[in-house]
């Protein structure tokens, strides 16, 4: 065994091991946590007494790479100019590279800023199959963090054709498995089920039980078919659903219908805040957080992330062309992009400024917080802003303070649009998240829902991805500037600044499939598309070029 590092006297928050702040020493060697070594003293002793020790953060839904993120960077030229990230000394010192941006940060800046917030893994949730090679190439240039991608299915013509002709569940599962492996994905996401395809046929809306144009398939069928395929394949992360009717007043009904349709099949509802709207009040826009939270609390097969809105400038980046085209009138600054992509999917980019004195934006902010606070089981809710859609990920420390500090939350509530504040129950909610619960929604929970057995906890054998935080009663200050961060045992951050560049790995899932599907897919590509299946498929080597490739077993969902 090589040199052992000991972190002495920290308060360990490791929910996966049932530890909530007990004082203990933590040891690691060769990039892994180890039990207390016998005899020989540690080669390196670091005194962290009184400090909070957690596993590295895991962001399970953040748009950090791929074609649409690059379009966002291109549109957000002021975001680059106003947020330079000059890493003085460049390659001379520690191999750091310059970059910039906040809503659309460059790859290097993305890696550094995440590390500086104590995060060690981030998952890109909307990889269009045709753009998968690009997404992985960008992630290879994203240092500091582990990463993984969710491949977008359910609007791809190959899948919709299979579904329309009544293909057997086993054939659908074979197709899903082939796609996951070909695109080197860890999970599957469906975005506006059927709606992206419908928009290409000039469909401007598609509700949960509407038959889609051309295929005449309902979103309900797409959701249940994909969720079933993933369950049958044993993929750990349940179907990651960006539901229909994003952003529309009254979409609470669609969201509840989606939960009901799953009928016990594990599903994950993403950026739930954007799907929790009612139509009450003079403005016909109201919070439905209480109804949604109640449904989530009762449905043990459902996990969610919130997509919290924060006030300020950002850019919305989504595969949901139908919704983004509808939202173009809200663009600020006034520019937007929509793209139809390769009989696979699409993307839409709309710059947006959330304003605290705008009734709708202010209520969106309150709805997100209501959801966080009303959903009881922290293991089934994950901290996200749907970066950059609700806000840039750099706002996480502020969000943590809003969750942990009722006094602070109430003072913020007092500053927003008064009618929105009055329309929200937020002021009456007393709950404050504990450090243990924060460790669950940012570490242990995401690791469990993604099947990362050796991440998100500090038990022996886990990767030595560790964040050490000074215990500051101002939780925003505390989480803004970790005292120490270790990635696979290497110290990468000191006092909130990156001091060394490291390269993380890529997490993938390798579901098995009947190889009979291959020749059918080969012909589909050759006859209908402009890329051959052999050139579409990404080799293990490309993904392993920049860092380790971690293949996870198909052990089934933790929600099953």
């Amino acid at each position: 065994m090589s040199a052992v590092t000991a972190l002495r006297g920290g308060r360990i928050f490791d929910p996966a091991q049932g530890r909530a702040g007990d004082g203990a020493d933590l040891f690691f060697a060769d990039g892994r946590i180890i039990s207390a070594p016998h005899g020989s003293p540690a080669a390196r002793d670091i005194d962290v007494s009184g400090k909070v020790v957690m596993a590295g953060g895991i962001d399970m839904h953040s748009h950090i790479a791929g074609g649409k993120v690059n379009i966002a960077r291109s549109l957000m030229i002021a975001d680059q100019r106003e947020n330079p990230d000059a890493r003085a000394g460049g390659l001379r010192s520690g191999g750091l590279r310059s970059g910039g941006g906040r809503a659309g940060p460059t790859t290097f800046t993305t890696g550094y800023r995440y590390a500086e917030l104590g995060y060690t893994a981030v998952f890109e949730p909307a990889m269009v199959p045709a753009n998968a090679r690009h997404a992985h190439a960008e992630l290879a240039d994203t240092p500091m963090i582990d990463k993984g991608c969710y491949v977008m299915l359910g609007n791809d013509d190959c899948f919709l054709r299979l579904l329309a002709r009544g293909a057997a569940a086993s054939e659908l599962a074979d197709y899903v498995a082939w796609m996951m492996r070909a695109t080197q994905a860890i999970a599957v996401k469906v975005v506006n089920p059927g709606g992206i395809s419908a928009f290409k046929f000039n469909g401007r809306s598609l509700h949960f039980d509407d038959p889609s144009p051309f295929y005449e398939i309902t979103p309900r069928r797409i959701v249940t078919a994909l969720a079933t395929a993933l369950r049958d394949l044993g993929v750990v992360h349940p179907l990651h659903i960006h539901a229909n009717d994003l952003g529309l007043p009254g979409n609470v009904e669609t969201t509840l219908a989606t939960i009901a349709a799953a009928d016990g099949l594990p599903i994950h509802l993403t950026h739930l805040q954007f799907h929790s709207y009612g139509t009450e009040g003079d403005r016909r826009f109201s919070s439905a957080a209480a109804r949604i939270a109640e449904a989530v609390n009762r449905s043990r097969h459902v996990s969610v992330d919130i997509g919290q809105v924060m006030f300020g400038q950002t850019v919305t980046a989504s595969g949901d062309t139908m919704s983004q085209y509808r939202n173009r009138r809200f663009a600020s600054p006034k520019k937007w992009v929509c793209m139809d992509i390769e009989c696979d999917g699409g993307c839409g980019l709309v710059p947006f400024r959330y304003r605290d004195q705008n009734f709708v934006n202010a209520l969106q902010w309150a709805i997100g917080l209501e959801l966080f606070l009303l959903i009881e089981d922290p293991w089934r809710v994950f901290l996200t802003t749907d970066h950059p859609n609700g806000a840039p990920f750099t706002t996480y420390p502020h969000l943590i303070r809003l969750l942990m500090d009722k006094g602070f939350r109430d003072s913020m509530l007092a500053t927003i649009h008064p009618e929105a504040a009055a329309a929200s129950t937020l002021g009456s909610i007393r709950r404050e998240y504990s450090l243990d619960e924060i460790a669950i929604i940012t570490r242990a929970g995401p690791a469990r829902i993604l099947g990362l057995a050796d991440r998100g906890h500090l038990g022996a054998g886990a990767a030595a991805d560790i964040t050490v935080l000074a215990d500051d009663p101002d939780r925003e200050a505390m989480f803004s500037r970790p005292a120490l961060v270790f990635k696979d045992g290497t110290q990468v951050v000191r006092d909130g600044r990156v001091i060394a560049s490291v390269q993380g790995g890529t997490h993938v899932t390798e579901p098995a499939y009947d190889r009979a599907i291959e020749s059918r897919i080969d012909s589909f590509f050759a006859e209908n598309l402009t890329v051959r299946a052999g050139n579409f498929r990404i080799s293990d080597d490309q993904v392993a070029e920049s860092g380790p490739r971690f293949a996870h077993p198909c052990a089934g969902s933790a929600l099953a």
Binding site: I77, V337, I341, N535
Partner: protein, 419 residues
């Protein structure tokens, strides 16, 4: 199966024009390759390129050991106040190394085709656009309208690959897809004849007619409205009309506004129906260079690495201006994907990375021979539409290093390098 059959390479990706054809069949021929299927004049010429017997590095025209040439390149860059890393015709790894070298030496970065890319920026970046990709065009496009010169010149297989008269995913009978054009020579094809200098008028007129805002006769400046009215009806009747242009062939004043006008027509059509724009381009991996510059540096080319961070300025950081003004005092020119090397005319010390055997307009101070991505080594390039990137394979054994390997050696030879 014969021996010849065994030696064939199938489903080969062609990295040259930007269309990203990946269905080529090649067979070895005299040191290069013959394109047996999926060929076009561009791929036939480039894949035929052989590695000549004298393929070594040179300093001041004299062949030297590779290490000596690398050392000389590093010395020239170390002595430079503002180097320019240009050309950038390289695969992803080569481009990534070029950006690393630029940051390490405080250089400006530009691509030989960036002017074309930047003609798209008013539409792509200032207003935004509605665009599509080749497979969508292949399956949905029922009216193809090109603006400017015929795109078939730069993209010989465009019609065959994106607009075949064949059944599609949504049509069991072969889809009729008229191809129309507004531009020079279009009159002879049944389109609207228009010299480049009047394209902006034509596009503005088309948009006005489409919007029901017939301009007063004085403003029509001699245009016959009838063809515009017919075209408008056809655009409205189509289910997925596609407006395409090749910015690289639109080297005339106001081309960016022509493109913006076309993009606005597409946005107008989408108010009621569907339509999409197809900006064509990407020769020499221009689209890849722009994508990588965006994700690594935040800007679509023409940026500089300074002590205060990264600066972007499409005018200031343009190759010809930097060289003629004397601001740039060293040039690294990368031409790994070129069939001919258009080395800029300049007196500043020049380091050229290119496949050996191409005729050069002048002898550079340092010549560093590199392989061609997709022939001599593996790699990754982007297609015209910016969405699809394709894997390149190594097809023959040569000793030629890649751009990435060569630039890594130059970086390592710079003073103060850690290794």
């Amino acid at each position: 199966m014969t021996v010849t059959e065994d030696a064939r390479h199938r489903e080969v990706v062609c990295p040259f024009c930007g269309l990203g054809c990946d269905d080529l069949t090649l067979s070895p021929a005299g040191g290069g390759f013959a394109v047996d299927a999926g060929g076009c004049p561009i791929s036939a010429a480039r894949f035929a390129l052989v590695v000549p017997p004298a393929a070594g590095a040179r300093v001041a025209g004299a062949e030297v050991a590779p290490g000596q040439a690398i050392a000389r390149a590093a010395a020239l860059l170390a002595a430079s106040r503002l180097p320019l890393v240009g050309g950038l015709a390289a695969d992803r790894a080569g481009l990534s190394a070029a950006l690393a070298l630029a940051e390490r030496t405080g250089a400006v970065v530009d691509h030989s085709g960036a002017a074309a890319l930047h003609r798209n920026l008013p539409a792509a970046r200032e207003t935004g656009w509605m665009v599509t990709t080749l497979s969508e065009v292949r399956n949905r496009c029922d009216l193809f309208l090109a603006l400017g010169p015929d795109p078939a010149t730069a993209f010989p297989r465009l019609a065959e690959r994106a607009l075949p008269v064949a059944p599609t995913l949504f049509s069991a009978v072969p889809l009729a897809r008229p191809r129309l054009r507004i531009g020079p020579g279009a009159g002879a094809e049944g389109g609207i004849e228009c010299p480049p200098g009047r394209l902006l008028e034509a596009v503005t007129l088309l948009r006005a007619v489409l919007g029901g805002r017939l301009p007063p006769s004085a403003a029509r400046a001699g245009w016959d409205l009838a063809p515009f009215e017919t075209l408008t009806e056809r655009l409205r009747a189509a289910t997925y009309p596609v407006l395409a242009w090749n910015a690289g062939a639109m080297d005339f004043p106001g081309a960016d506004l022509v493109i913006l006008g076309a993009s606005e027509i597409v946005r107008d059509l989408n108010e009621k129906g569907r339509a999409a724009a197809l900006p064509l381009g990407g020769a020499e991996n221009l689209v890849g260079a722009a994508q990588i510059a965006l994700w690594q540096a935040g800007y679509p080319l023409r940026h500089a690495y300074g002590p205060g961070g990264i600066e972007h300025d499409p005018r200031r950081f343009e190759t010809a201006r930097l060289l003629s003004s004397g601001e740039a005092d060293a040039l690294v020119w990368i031409a790994a994907l070129r069939g001919e090397v258009t080395l800029p005319e300049t007196a500043v010390p020049t380091i050229l990375l290119a496949p050996p055997g191409l005729s050069l307009p002048r002898e550079p101070d340092v010549f560093l021979p590199v392989g061609t991505p997709g022939i001599d080594h593996a790699g990754l390039v982007f297609r015209s539409d910016g969405v699809v990137s394709l894997p390149l394979r190594r097809l023959r054994e040569t000793a030629l290093p890649s751009v990435a390997q060569t630039l890594a050696a130059v970086i390592a030879a710079l003073p103060g390098a850690s290794s």
